[in-house]
């Protein structure tokens, strides 16, 4: 036995064995196939990028969760933690000037240094889309409807997309008579979903009554179209009102896409304030404590790369979808070849195999020269039902 880590893999990484690997590839190709049929073109970007390129807009938070290394010139490289920023970089450089909107999609692995646990690995398989250069509610609705369609096609039945609008929260924050530092503390608690401490903090700043309630009650506004009416009192300024109006328009457009049944309005979806600028959404499924997809509008990112342009998109967590499927509705899969050909006439064996393969069948040939009885026994242990023995002169 080798000493040390020679036979181990790093924490949070996984080997996908036959079966699971097949499931993941299938899901991946089903997603990219679907995206392509909606006019999205696939791009492939490098796994390794410069740290500066990756952290351009994601803020400090992601820095703590990066795998970093040096190249031989001493420059800092990092494994990409998500795909949106790399794609934005491609758009702002190589695809600058292309006709808009640009519809791009990907299936790729991303890397995050997190505490490994079920549904939270350090190497994460994602598939997603980015639509660049369209700021309309219809653009947001298309992206969300596409996420719904992708999850549906994965085989998951019981899932929900929660839809929020970050500008409503931002509008409410604008009204609070707080310093930049105090506001950042408020945001931290909202991001941590610690509503107890949030109430305490707001009270300690002298914010009570309606201004505090508006923020504290955001997570309770959840449901169908009636939420928009319940939320009307949040329209304290133009920013919040525009956020509400935009949410209404996108929700309406989603009805035209026929996906309303899968979408709930939820003003408590408050993710990545530094990043998102409008619609935000997350997908959930029963029995999995983590979101299976997430996305939203990020109109400032490309501007920071010198190519101001509105954009929206989402990423699906393929590992998490597979985990949820395994629990509720395991996909049927072929575990091995369906045909086994053996015998002492090699030419005949190979002929037969070629012929069957051309019909689209998966064929295995015996390379160990087994006799007919042991060939049958082997087929049984492998679960191969069709066996053919080619006898010389036969």
């Amino acid at each position: 036995m080798k000493e040390g880590n020679g036979l181990q893999i790093p924490a949070g990484m996984r080997d996908l064995l036959p079966g699971v690997a097949c499931d993941q590839r299938q899901l991946e190709s089903r997603c990219t196939g679907l995206f392509t049929s909606w006019g999205y073109q696939e791009v492939i970007t490098p796994t390794l990028e410069y740290l500066d390129a990756i952290t351009i807009d994601t803020g400090e938070e992601i820095r703590d969760h990066l795998f970093q290394l040096f190249d031989r010139q001493g420059k800092i490289l990092a494994l990409r933690p998500e795909m949106t920023t790399p794609i934005a970089r491609v758009v702002a450089t190589r695809l600058r000037g292309a006709a808009l909107p640009l519809r791009l999609c990907y299936a790729a692995n991303v890397f995050r240094y997190e505490e490994p646990q079920a549904g939270r690995q350090r190497e994460i398989a994602q598939a997603g889309v980015e639509m660049i250069g369209a700021a309309t509610p219809l653009a947001d609705a298309e992206v969300i409807a596409l996420a719904v369609e992708a999850i549906k096609q994965s085989g998951l039945e019981d899932f929900q997309i929660s839809l929020g609008q970050i500008e409503i929260f931002n509008g409410l924050m604008e009204e609070l008579p707080l310093t930049v530092e105090q506001k950042s503390k408020v945001r931290t608690l909202v991001a941590k979903k610690d509503f107890v401490s949030l109430e305490e903090l707001l009270n300690s700043y002298g914010i009570t009554g309606a201004p505090a309630d508006r923020i504290l009650q955001l997570p309770t506004l959840h449901g169908g179209a009636e939420v928009l009416e319940q939320a009307a009192w949040l329209g304290v300024n133009d920013r919040a009102r525009q956020g509400l109006e935009n949410l209404r328009q996108v929700y309406q457009a989603l009805a035209s896409f026929g996906v309303s049944d899968f979408v709930a309005l939820d003003l408590g979806v408050l993710r990545g304030f530094d990043y998102y600028t409008g619609i935000v959404f997350e997908g959930y499924t029963v029995g999995l404590g983590f979101p299976i997809c997430g996305g939203g509008r990020y109109d400032n990112l490309l501007g920071q790369l010198g190519y101001p342009c509105p954009a929206t998109g989402f990423a699906l967590g393929l590992d998490r979808i597979l985990l949820a499927l395994a629990r509720t509705n395991p996909p049927a899969r072929a575990t091995s070849a369906v045909y086994l050909i053996g015998g002492d006439d090699t030419a005949a064996m190979l002929n037969k195999a070629t012929q069957l393969r051309s019909q689209g069948l998966s064929v295995e040939i015996d390379v160990l020269g087994r006799d007919e009885a042991s060939l049958q026994a082997y087929a049984q242990t492998r679960g191969i039902t069709q066996v053919q023995y080619c006898r010389q002169g036969g």
Binding site: S162, K193, D194, F195, V196, P219, H222, T285, V286, G289
Partner: protein, 219 residues
């Protein structure tokens, strides 16, 4: 699965009060107090399931979605940095996080004179954050219980611990020199459950919040 609400309850000092509160909020809680060895209670007709576990494990059960909601002390939450929603301060299970020194050492000195010393605690995250905020560098020694022993045998110069009455400190000739913060029990929820089971969780949250408020007024 979608219809059943799973609630995680902590064994120990918060247990009885948590059950009383849920019962007052209108949930069926029969059997929970009587059968102290059972780990799970399934009230099928009410579509309710209770998981009874160690207080420190509640955030984990809730974060994974193995439980939809739970009752847990803030002292446990702060030490773990789990992705859960904190919804209501239940106002019971009150305790204080403090820095305590042996009486003799504390006399005539304040905490800043204890830079670069050793601190024994069950709560390394809390201790670390507190001393860092103060600009102090200390060596933190994680222990699992009876923290007050550490200064007596010279393992540490001071301790960070939770106290409710202060009796343990007095009995061991320790004095609290600095308050870090106060902790009470919290109602927490899994972020996905809170959305998918909103129709069941939200009315319960509101009921509980009202009950807690009513009690406060009464006292």
């Amino acid at each position: 699965m979608k219809d059943t609400l799973t609630i995680a309850l902590p064994k120990g000092k918060l247990y009885d009060e948590a059950i009383d509160l849920l019962a007052e909020a209108g949930l069926s809680t029969y059997g929970l107090k009587e059968d102290s060895r059972k780990l799970m209670f399934h009230h099928e007709a009410e579509r309710l399931k209770y998981i009874i576990c160690r207080p420190t494990d509640i955030p984990t059960f809730v974060e994974y979605g193995a439980a939809d909601i739970g009752v847990v002390g803030k002292d446990t939450i702060v030490e773990q940095d789990k992705d859960i929603m904190e919804l209501v301060d239940l106002k019971f299970g009150f305790c204080r996080f403090v820095v305590a020194l042996p009486e003799e050492a504390a006399r005539g000195r304040d905490l800043s004179q204890f830079n670069h010393r050793r601190v024994a605690t069950k709560f390394p995250e809390v201790a670390d954050a507190f001393f860092r905020e103060k600009g102090m560098q200390v060596e933190i020694i994680k222990l699992h219980g009876n923290i007050e022993l550490a200064p007596m045998v010279g393992l540490a110069d001071m301790i960070v611990d939770i106290v409710s009455t202060g009796r343990t400190l007095r009995e061991n000739n320790l004095v609290a020199v600095e308050e870090i913060f106060n902790a009470t029990a919290r109602l927490v929820a899994n972020r996905v459950s809170y959305r998918l089971k909103h129709q069941r969780i939200q009315p319960l949250v509101e009921k509980v919040r009202q009950l807690v408020k009513d009690k406060e007024v009464r006292y």
